[in-house]
Amino acid sequence: MVANANKKSKEKVKPRGREMAWEREIRTDFRVREGQDGLIKGHVEGLVEARKRKRLRQDTEPFQRGIIRHVALVLDLSEAMLEKDMRPNRYLVTLKYTQEYIREFFEQNPISQMLILAMYDGICIKISDLSGNPSTHISALIALRNPRNPREVAKEPKGSPSLQNALEHARASLHHTPSHGTREVIIILGALLSLDPGDIFKTISACVADHLRVAIIGMAGRLRICQEICAKTNANDPSSYTVALDQTHFRELLLATTTPPVIRKPTAAAQAANPASLLLMGFPSRVIEDSPTLCACHGQLTRGGYTCSRCMAKVCSLPSTCPSCHLTLILSTHLARSYHHLFPLRNWVEVSWQRALKKGSVQCTGCLTAFPPVPADMRDSKGKGKVTNGNHESNGVNGAVRQEKVEGASESSRYECETCGEHFCIDCDLFCHEVVHNCPGCQSSVPEGDVVQGQNGAAGDGNRMDVD
């Protein structure tokens, strides 16, 4: 009886919709409904659109984020990675996704740096050095299984992982990074244990003292110690500890860490200890040469490069630190590319038939694809649309909801940018939010003089920070 009572109370506490994938009932709403015209086309299209848009629904609140990141990516190379619950096994899946991740990471964070470590046989080994060049990391990962030196053997997972050794190693490797950048550790943990030589809590507090932020992606189950590590190093917010349900979820979780972490408001003491500092940066010009010349950074021959704006040394790739005068060298486009994390493009809202009728939009502003025309019966009841279920949509536009409406998709296949009021198709919606991070409607509209649309003036209200 006691056990039963327990079970019941647990069920009560658990909020609905938060159950794990394996607890969920088999989806029954998978059936396709017919539209009024007896066709299922409308509903299927809606489903497709809803699935596409699901990817976009994220927090678009602009927070201060650390766009100069220093990340230690820690892979698990312990025996647990030989599990075959991911195909062909966890190790190979991780290697594959990590390569993809590295490319995406540097695409999104061009002025960031990364190093790769691995937990292997109880200790932590280094796979690649801290650098901003994705190809060195990727080739180091490939070399794990196909060593360049034929005498070496391919590395296969072995032994147990040690979170403590990994954290200590990452801490030492990131110790010298400047204070204007973040120090992050992203751990992919396949095992359900950590075999540590000492007291991991000491390491955790040392990490907190060093401003390390740890994110852990588990592959097997939640571990208390991981939660502890993530919460302690992220200002008591354990949300950076995630556990992958399956292969695709694992990939999503990994790619989610390409978004830079938010900056927490520092305490007064921390602010005094680490005041805002001036960071010298050089924007070198690209030169192309007829014959290959030696670059200062690697001593390799390249057919071109960038000339340091201070000491005239040639470096072969950006961003980097000038090997001769230690100036940070980047391209202005790198800065611009990192900016969309700070100024995210707001989500576009679904457009009801009524709103579409009012705006009279016939084609997508982005790609000029024709929209489906407003149905005749809607056009008849012009202006006095009957609100069938009083559902106020997020954009404040009352919509007469049609039967085919699918959760998440717009009934009129139009999506509206609330800033400029233009309508777009689903594909432009995706493209603008995932790739260009700008709204073509807002960009092409004529600026209205110098009118500042910000709600509050330069002073701000203390919590908010003014960005110019």
Partner: protein
């Protein structure tokens, strides 16, 4: 400790340097305590008699912190045979130590003080550097000073990193003579202290302890049982199972070590220690089975020290209020004395306790009045019921971003846009239609524009013709003009292809070209690569000195400029050597051709494709390096002259 015979003020005695090289002392012969003791740190100057003079003596000038007048002491070296060598030895040690002390003093100064002379480089750099170097940490083991002082660690890092070692050795041999090895090495490591730290940590890693008996398994290879047991594993077994140690100690001299382990791993004893059930079929071992009855008496687990469990969560204390005593019996695995049936549970528990004992936190006083300190309290608080912590993310208040695309106030249109705005559309359209009509009118057969005609191509014109009429060479359609255009286009295509042919580098960056693709010989190539890397090392040294803004280090900067000039000479020497090699090759080839011509009467063309690259190739390859050196020395000279003129103006 080195000591030499010497005299001070005509009295014989011994001059010696203490073991830690901190102190110089002179003791009179027969005296108990030294008469003179000088701290090396106080030494301000050192003089010695010239090599040719018959008298050998050392003069030491000191300036103690308190005293305002420098003192000096003269010691004559009295040894009849080795006076000269003694002098050299003493001065060498002293000089090195003084340099060390100065170098140590300079380190913090270089990054912390902002120079106040106006000509110095911007202070912002010094600040940025200081920030980058020292972001506060209280780890005593990882402080920069500790790492820099640890020469054993540095050696081990050089051993493990071949590239770094090569760079270090080469730079060390090429360094200018007036910079000491110690100074150079410390400068070398100051810029690489992060590598040292990383190496220190990765070297210091240890594996956690594990249940070693369950890990070691005899393998069956070709019918015989093989056992792989490392030294560490044996130590771990002894540590985890004191009983095994006892057995080992008592039986090994009598028994072969190999035999002991092979018997141990099939014995009933190991089954017992692992917590497995012993069956009748298990082989007996008269020697080892004696210890079976001893039980775990020898290795009663080191209980987690009770002193470290706060009373608050002391389960022992709950015994009095034990609900299960009244009715439901505890689970059989939880009852005492019942462990003979399931020994593995008990064994695993005791194993875990032993392993945890090594890692248990040594907390401070937990037996205070309340029984727990703040940290413990935080640990056992029921966090599930806690509210979420405050959202302290920093929200950005974004103003209309479109504003950034326009210029502040005024006319934000481009110049061209302004010009276009002034045009009258009707006039413009009329002009365009007029022009297009006039173009097509010439050639009414074809619709559209005849480009050849428009350019005025004249195939009959020859280049000799054009040379006579200088002004016609500018004509677009001329032969030479077209040839030049073709050449430029083809050249651009070729270059573009070379740039983008290699897909190994991401777009926008430059793929490395293998050294084999240059036509320089291997020796020249290697020598150039080494020269290049040391040059960069020197440049790095120079700029860090230059940007430190420390007037005291001006001499160092000058030294580095000297070293860079030498680098230039080295590049030139390489170029010369390469050119000589190329000449020799061409001469040899010419001789061969001549020979061929004499024998066959046919002339072959000189094929220079295989010839090694000469000075030109070297200079092309090193162009950016040379440019960087030039920039450094130019900047130095500029600054130097500025300072000189300023100091002149002041005085």
């Amino acid at each position: 400790m080195s000591s030499v015979a010497s005299s001070y003020k005509k009295q014989n005695g011994t001059l010696s340097i203490s073991k830690d090289n901190r102190e110089v002392s002179w003791i009179q012969t027969g005296a108990a305590a030294p008469t003179i003791r000088l701290l090396v740190a106080d030494i301000s100057n050192l003089q010695q008699t010239p090599e040719k003079s018959p008298k050998v003596s050392i003069k030491i000038f000191t300036q103690t912190a308190g005293a305002n007048k420098p003192e000096d002491f003269t010691f004559s070296l009295t040894s009849a045979t080795t006076a000269r060598a003694d002098q050299a030895a003493i001065t060498k040690i002293l000089r090195q130590e003084i340099e060390n002390i100065r170098a140590r003093k300079q380190q913090p100064v270089a990054s912390a003080t902002v120079p106040d002379d106006p000509g110095a480089p911007p202070a912002a750099f010094a600040i940025a550097q200081a920030l980058a170097v020292s972001t506060g940490s209280n780890d005593s083991a990882f402080t920069d000073a500790k790492l820099l002082a640890n020469s054993e660690l540095q050696r081990s890092l050089l051993q493990s990193n071949v590239d770094l070692k090569q760079r270090f050795m080469q730079a060390l041999t090429d360094k200018p003579d007036n910079i000491s090895t110690h100074q150079f090495a410390s400068q070398f490591w100051v810029t690489r202290v992060h590598l040292l730290r990383e190496h220190a940590v990765s070297r210091g890693q240890t594996q956690g302890s594990y249940n070693v008996l369950s890990e070691v398994k005899p393998k069956n290879v070709d019918g015989t049982n093989r056992l792989n047991l490392s030294k560490e594993q044996i130590q771990l077994i002894f540590k985890q199972h004191p009983l095994v140690k006892k057995v080992y100690n008592e039986s090994v001299p009598a028994m072969n070590e190999m035999e002991f382990w092979s018997r141990f791993f099939v014995s009933r004893l190991i089954k017992k220690l692992k917590g497995e059930k012993i069956t009748e079929n298990d082989p007996t071992d008269p020697k080892l089975d004696r210890y079976l009855s001893l039980g775990d008496g020898a290795d009663v687990p080191v209980q987690l020290d009770g002193a470290h469990i706060p009373r608050f969560i002391d389960l022992e204390g709950n015994e009095q209020n034990h609900s299960q005593k009244r009715g439901n019996a505890p689970d059989m695995t939880m009852q005492p004395n019942n462990h003979e049936k399931v020994p593995i549970l008990r064994v695993l528990n005791s194993m875990s306790e032993k392993m945890m004992a090594d890692t248990a936190t040594a907390k401070g006083e937990v037996h205070g009045p309340v029984g727990l300190d703040e940290e413990t309290f935080n640990e056992i608080r029921l966090r599930d019921l806690q509210k979420d912590s405050l959202d302290n993310r920093i929200m950005l208040n974004i103003k209309d971003q479109k504003r950034f695309h326009t210029t502040e106030g005024g006319d934000h249109r481009s110049k061209e846009a302004i010009i276009y705005a002034r045009q009258n559309p009707q006039n413009v359209l009329a002009t365009i239609s007029n022009e297009s009509r006039s173009l097509t009118r010439f050639n009414s057969l074809h619709s559209g524009l005849d480009l050849e005609e428009a350019l005025g191509i004249n195939d009959d014109s020859s280049s000799e013709d054009e040379q006579h009429h200088q002004k016609r060479t500018l004509h677009i359609g001329s032969k030479s003009g077209r040839a030049a255009a073709t050449k430029q286009i083809v050249g651009a295509i070729r270059q573009k292809r070379a740039q983008t042919d290699d897909y190994s580098a991401p777009p926008g960056s430059f793929a490395p070209v293998p050294f084999e693709n240059t036509d320089l010989t291997i020796e020249i190539r290697d020598s150039l690569a080494l020269t290049h890397s040391t040059t960069i090392e020197f440049l790095h040294y120079f700029w860090s000195v230059f940007h430190s803004g420390d007037p005291e280090r001006a001499g160092e900067a000058q030294n580095m400029i000297g070293a860079l000039d030498k680098s230039l000479d080295r590049i030139k020497a390489n170029a010369k050597q390469a050119e000589a090699g190329r000449r020799a090759y061409i001469d040899r080839l010419n001789a061969q051709l001549e020979e061929h011509f004499r024998r066959s009467g046919k002339r072959k063309k000189l094929d220079l494709r295989q010839a090694p690259g000469g000075a030109e190739a070297v200079n092309a390859m090193m162009a950016p390096t040379v440019r960087a050196i030039k920039e450094a020395s130019d900047r130095f000279r500029e600054e130097y002259e500025l300072q000189i003129s300023q100091s002149k103006a002041v005085s």
